[in-house]
Amino acid sequence: MKKLLFILLVIVSIFRVNSQTLSQTNNSNSSLLLGNNIDKSEYLFDKTLSQITNSDFEVYIPSQLSINVATKDKMLTVENLYNFQIKKTNNFLILGINGSGKINNSIASILENSNIVGGFSGNLLLGFKFFRIKNETDIYNAFVDKIKKIDKDDKEILKKLKQEIGNLGQIEGHWFYINPSIEGRKFKNYFPSNNFDSQIVKENKSLWALNIGYNYWSPNIYGFNSILGVSYTPKFTDNFSELTEFSLVEQQTATNNIIQRVSSSKTTVYSGEYKTSHKQDLNFETYLVHNKMPNFGLYLGYLNTFEKNIKTLTTFSTGLYFSKPKQPTNPSIGIVVNFNDINDNFNLDSDKKFSINLVTRLNIGSVFK
């Protein structure tokens, strides 16, 4: 099993040479229609009348399961997101189901002894998304009135009409969501100063979080294509990332009078005090892409973490993301700088106050893909 996971990781790394994730298309959203208001003409287009039976009008099969592989996070995610359009409106109900497997230990220790410390996570997403167009009637009238007089090859005049309509009004998106998740943690906690028999403690914990949030999108606020988000997350979490990873070698010796046999096995362990705690996160985020530089995105985040009887931890993050052409809100990679504990409540060491991360996905943007 461990070998299989290792081979998977190698394959994933090879894929990564060409792409950040295996799935980067816009089509990762699939949909179902609500109720029985299915457009019969769709079917009549595909079939002749004689072939149609009543059952043809009832089934729409959702599709496009997406598989994301992030080698940096050593994570394989299977995602499916359904958009249910509410009859003849720009309102959608959202249902998403995700599952992922994660490798927690360092690449170096995997390469050295093929020993994988794994974890799993799963989450459910329920949401309501809607789009509004300001001055929709004016835009409708202006478009209908002018487009008929324009020749299809007159690109300049079409461009001008686009600007004129933009001045009349623009679209904006709103998204409310609730996102419960569960994560499994399984590893060996190592206490070198304990008695020999109690040096290794197997930990097996289930962690959870309930993420409730709102996002707003506008294509143009002072020239910026903008996504703003606020979320509140009560959670049961741990300090696994603060533990120190070791590779432990165990040797067994068997001997008779002539031959001595030594066998050794390697295992990955973590030292440090492992703690779980109840916390609440309040997170404000924004992602901005300027019209003049569509391949660069600016990320700003302000996260407050509350814990009972403990002072608030405030983290400010800023990041620069790089995206492919025509994909401004779906960046490939970004560099994020975190300033931890900006209020100096915890007297953190200087090396913990500041961190730079290379990130492969933008969570806030994914909702408007």
């Binding site: 003409s41 478009f143 009409l161 686009k162 294509p219 143009n220 019209n291 401004p328």
Partner: protein
């Protein structure tokens, strides 16, 4: 002459407030399903010039591409055309094209 017409618009489009076919305009007529917008008109009257004029106003994320596929069927013959436009800085894309029968 009448023909069956199907419109499909890429799923990255967020709203399609207006669709114009020949001289008729339709408000919010497209439906979102299976990851894309679609609408089929059966027995749609085509002008005597034997081509279908179509225009769509679409809203989406600036600099993404809006792709419209129009398919027309007369009798057993089917013809298709794909037109694209890039969403402008204020999120609008305009598709205006024609499909000859």
């Amino acid at each position: 002459m009448n023909a069956d017409v199907r419109l499909k618009v890429s799923g990255n489009t967020k709203a399609i407030p207006v669709v114009i076919l020949e001289h008729l305009d339709f408000k919010n007529v497209m439906r979102f399903k299976n990851g894309e917008w679609s609408k089929t008109f059966l027995n749609f009257p085509i002008d005597t010039d034997k081509k279908l004029d179509f225009a769509l106003l679409c809203a989406g994320i600036p600099f993404q591409e809006c792709k419209v596929t129009v398919t027309i069927r007369v009798g057993n013959k089917t013809k298709s055309k794909e037109s694209t436009d890039i969403f402008g800085p204020k999120g609008w894309a305009i598709i205006k094209d024609e499909l000859k029968l």
